[in-house]
Structure formats: C-alpha cells, structure tokens
Symmetry: C2
Subunit: 337 residues, 2 copies
C-alpha cells in the first residue's frame, strides 16, 4: 500500500505539500503540483479513507436509510436509491445503505461513530420515531417524504396533495362525477405514511371543492385483491366513471379486470395513475398519469444534504410540483344511462 509519505519522498517534497496538492487548500506552484501529480500516478497512490476521516473528521459518506419492506413501491425506492448514489458520487460522496431494520438505532450508530457525514431517510412516516433522534443529534439530514411536523427538518417530496388535486381536476374537467380512488395497501395507511395521507387529503379537498363524489379504497397489490376491491367499488357506486390508482402493483390487474368485464378504457371508464412514467407507458393501455419523479427526488435530496454539509443550505421543505401527462386512458365521462 502506497502512503502519502511515499509519494512525498518520491516527488521530493514534504507530506503536507502533497496533502495540499490533493485538497487544493493552499496554493502550490505549478511546477511542484505537476511533480506531485506525476508521482501519485506513477505510484498508483490512493488516499486512505480511514486516515482521512480521522484527521479531517469527515468521512465523505452519506447514509441512506431505505425501508426494509421489499413489497411496496419497490421500483420507486430503487430508482431513488440509485439516483442518490449517483448524485452523491458527483459530489464526491459515497453512499452507505442502511435498512429500516435497525430502526432509530441506526441513526444513533451512524451519528455517533462518524461513519457518515449526513443521512437521507426514505419512507418517512407522519410521526416517525427517528425524527426526535435526528433533531437531538443535529446530524445533518434530509428526509424524502414529509412528516407531520417538519420544523427543524429538511424535506424533499413530490407535492402529493397537489397530485391528488390534479387527478381529481383532470377527471372532473372531463365531466366525471363519481370518482373512485384505488390506494396503496391498508398497511401503508395504518403506518401513516405521509405521501399516502397527503394524496388522499388533496383528492378529498379538491373533489369537495369541485362537487364530485369520491370513494377511497385501499388495495393490496395483485389480481385477486384488485378484483375484490373493484367489485366493492362498483357495487357501492355503480356510476363510477373515473378511477385514480395509486398503487403500482394494482395497475395491470385493474386494466385486465376492466377489459374482462367489458368496460372500455377510456370510453366507459377513465383511469388516472400515480406512478413512475415507465409503469404508465408500459401498461397495456397508455395511462394518463402523474409521474413520481424518483430520480429528481433523489437528486434534490443529495443536493440539499451536500449544501448543508458545506455550511450553505437551510431547513427547507422542497415540494416538487406534480405534472399530469395525458395519455390514452382518460376521456370524457359517458352520458348517464
């Protein structure tokens, strides 16, 4: 293993000079810099991460806490995680992957050990048990998702309230009077996941304002669960002509069922999805949808965190504006029979 000292000797300068060449924190003559850089290349030197962390008390690592559950909104999570890793690298940081498993202890461990300089939390619940710790340790952090109380926290999220409103508006504008929402699995609501409740709030508020009827039903993923849920909805509100789906793994089953029952999309029923663009475009019907901008969320979160770590940056809540893309699954409401 090559050390700083060896590079210094090889280049005929002192260790500190090499260090300054590397960090750029003091001016170095062009001549010396080149000699040092050459030695670094020739010896294949790589600074030792541990030593660096110890001496500078900065690890250049960002911790990312992802939910343990592998069953829900997986693609979104994955996309965010990858976006985080990629943007972090662009800022010179590496990413440490923490699963929800350890829970709040992970926060303590990471903050205490100086393993990471800051952390990004995903899948934040409205009243998340990690938040008190986060506030207490003054560990620089950014949440992806919105808790109930955002004071003293930096958060990044899609504006799900506006998302809900947007979906209702779109359907209402086309004359739909009876709208049903097929939501995430019941467990998601029971955990008081921010995005689910906020979407619902936006949906309800806007539909009240616009005077349309709204029915919300949670739904597990998969075909059978969807079949039951759809039957219940149509039983309860036979005039339902607009459907809003916020559950990736319910999308395709829903379309299959509608087809099977002879309900044409969008002639008989309009469907709006809240899902990644890819899902909306790969479905058996091109779905009108509000995209979940996973990449952008990940990138924003990193940008915010890095800003904090560099002393700039503040406790801000960034809500990304939703965008509804009209594709083939929505159209005018059918005239009442």
């Amino acid at each position: 293993m090559v050390t700083l000292a060896e590079v210094a000797q090889h280049a005929g300068v002192s260790a500190s000079t090499v260090s300054y060449v590397l960090s750029g924190k003091r001016s170095i003559s062009a001549n010396t810099r080149q000699r040092v850089e050459r030695s670094i290349r020739e010896l294949g030197y790589h600074p030792n991460a541990g030593a660096r962390a110890l001496a500078s008390s900065k690890s250049n690592i960002i911790a990312l806490m992802v939910p343990l559950r592998t069953d829900m909104y997986v693609p979104v999570m994955m996309e965010i995680a990858i976006a985080v890793a990629t943007s972090a690298r662009a800022h010179g940081y590496d990413v440490l992957l923490l699963t929800g498993e350890e829970g709040p202890d992970a926060v303590r461990r990471v903050a205490g050990s100086g393993l990471a300089d800051g952390m990004i939390l995903m899948d934040v619940e409205l009243d998340d048990e990690r938040l008190p710790l986060l506030r207490a340790t003054d560990q620089p952090s950014v949440l992806i998702g919105l808790p109930a109380d955002t004071s003293g926290l930096t958060c990044v999220d899609l504006d799900f309230r506006a998302t809900g409103a947007l979906c209702v508006e779109h359907l209402a504008k086309q004359g739909h009077q009876d709208i049903a929402v097929i939501g995430e699995a019941p467990a998601v609501y029971e955990r008081h996941t921010g995005f689910a409740e906020r979407t619902l709030d936006g949906l309800r508020t806007r539909s009240r304002e616009l005077g349309v009827r709204l029915l919300h039903r949670p739904c597990e993923g998969g075909y059978d669960a969807m079949a039951v849920t759809l039957a219940r909805i149509l039983d309860e509100r036979p005039d339902t002509s607009g459907l809003i789906v916020q559950n990736e793994s319910a999308v395709e089953p829903l379309l299959a069922l509608l087809r099977q029952q002879g309900r044409a999309v969008p002639e008989d029923v309009s469907v709006v999805a809240i899902c990644p663009d890819q899902v909306a475009m790969q479905a058996s019907v091109r779905l009108t949808s509000v995209a979940i901008p996973a990449q952008e969320m990940g990138r924003h979160a990193v940008d915010q965190l890095v800003a904090k770590l560099e002393g700039r940056g503040s406790d801000e809540v960034v809500l990304l504006a939703p965008e509804l893309t009209v594709r083939g699954s929505t159209g005018p409401a059918p005239s009442r029979s």
Copy 2:
C-alpha cells in the same frame, strides 16, 4: 463527542483496557469489564469509525456494486440488495452502495482507499471488465452471477442451467412438444449476462435431449412488445402449447394477451415463469414457476465474503438448486387438432 480516553478516565482504567473490553481480544476481569461497560453506557460512547479503520486497517464495510440500469429485474436486485444489507449487519458490517456507473474504476477506488474490506458484485457479465482488476487487487470479493471464467473467484448464483432444464422437463412431461421461450430484453443477451445465457443453454440442451421443439425470443417488457413477440411466436410455431417466460415485466402482459385471444391457461397454453415467487403469486393466474431466491443469494454472498474476510472460506462456486413450484398455469398439452 466522547472518546475512548474519556471512557477510560471515567472508569479509572487505561485506554487500552477499554479497547480490550470492546474487542474481547484479551481477558479482562469481570469487575473491570462491568465498570467500563457502565462508563460506556453513561457517557454514551460510540467508537469512531475512522480511527478504528485507521488503526486496525479494517473498515467493517462491504461494498455492493449494483447495476445502474433501473429498468431490468428491479425487484430482484432490490431484494438482493436488502438481503445483503441485512445479513451484513448481522455480521457487524455495513454496506456501501456503488452503482455500475463508475464501472471498473469503482473497484480500484474502493480497493485502494481501504474504504471497504471486501465487495459483492451483482449483474456480472460473462466477460466482465471488472474481473481482471478484481483478480489483480486480491480484493476479497464475491460475485452474484457467473462469469465465463470463474477461476480464482467466488460466485453465488441460482443454477440457471438447471432452471432452464427444469422448466422444459416439466412441460415435456405434460406432453408439450412445442415450447416457446419469452426471454429478457435483447440488450440483456447482447451484454452477455451470465444468467440469461445459461438459462438458454439449459433450455436448449434439455429440450434436445427430450426431443421437444424450442423457440427462443427475447422480449422487451411491456404490453406492446409482448404483443409483437407473441404474434411472431404463434405465427412461426402455431402448435406452441408451452410458454416459458423469463422476464418479469412481460408476465402480466402475456397473460392479458392470451386471455384476450381466447387462449385459456392452462387448457390451451401452459405457462411457466422464472421469477420471484411474489410475482408468480400475484399474477392474474397463479403461475407455475421457478423462483429466483433473491434473499438467499444475498445472504449466501455475504456469508461467503465474511468467511473470506475472516480467513476461512475459499474460492468456491455456489449454485443454488432451482425449485419448480406447480401452480395453476400448467397442465397437460391439448391434443392436436
């Protein structure tokens, strides 16, 4: 921040004693140990990761390189990643998330800087460009997936050759004579991804042995691509009665199309999927499938790597035996019209 020295002072012992209490590398009297442990608790001491890494030249971190592509076999990747993170924690390791983006350089960076003690590579190609480096740096590592040349490497994977064989056998045993394989996207084959080619090999070899006809067609995910692919298959081999799908995002579209065309599963067509159990069970037809044991693969990889890091462990190729679960999507071949 609390340091070892402070704990030592608080407990009235020397720093080295505290260190030995923590590591258990020398015997300590019960009395002293308790005093030290009490001080640790009272002061809320957490060892500093950087200092530890520097002094011991072990970071207790495992690097996990995941493919950058977010479009393919995502759930499997995610499940593996989470399994890796979870098992690693159980062994006292944290996980550093690297994306494929950096390519081989990531290997150099991690190995050189001592950031991680070892690494796990996913999405290994048959002739992966990271392998030469891996062999050169003698960085302890484990691959998930099989390259062409496994000499000097430790690999963990599902036995995809056996998987392919198993699928063919199952269908052949039910009398199917014309079998079509709907594979991963063409890009996957072009990259020479090990698992895809091996599966194909298993499928072909076994079908030759059993004297059944086999047609293989790569297929992008999504409904449209599937429609085209299916049409081509049925055009070319109208007698096809057995389908084998190895592409998660083609499963549901396939079922929808078959339904739409009035082909009953399993009466007219039998379908075997190679996919995670969850996908097979959530589909609109309970799919007979060979599971991709993502969790197990992740766990095995970590176990192997940890064994290597502790000096035990060898360069072994672990192939997990495939298991075919019969569900509702396969049955006897229809008698020829």
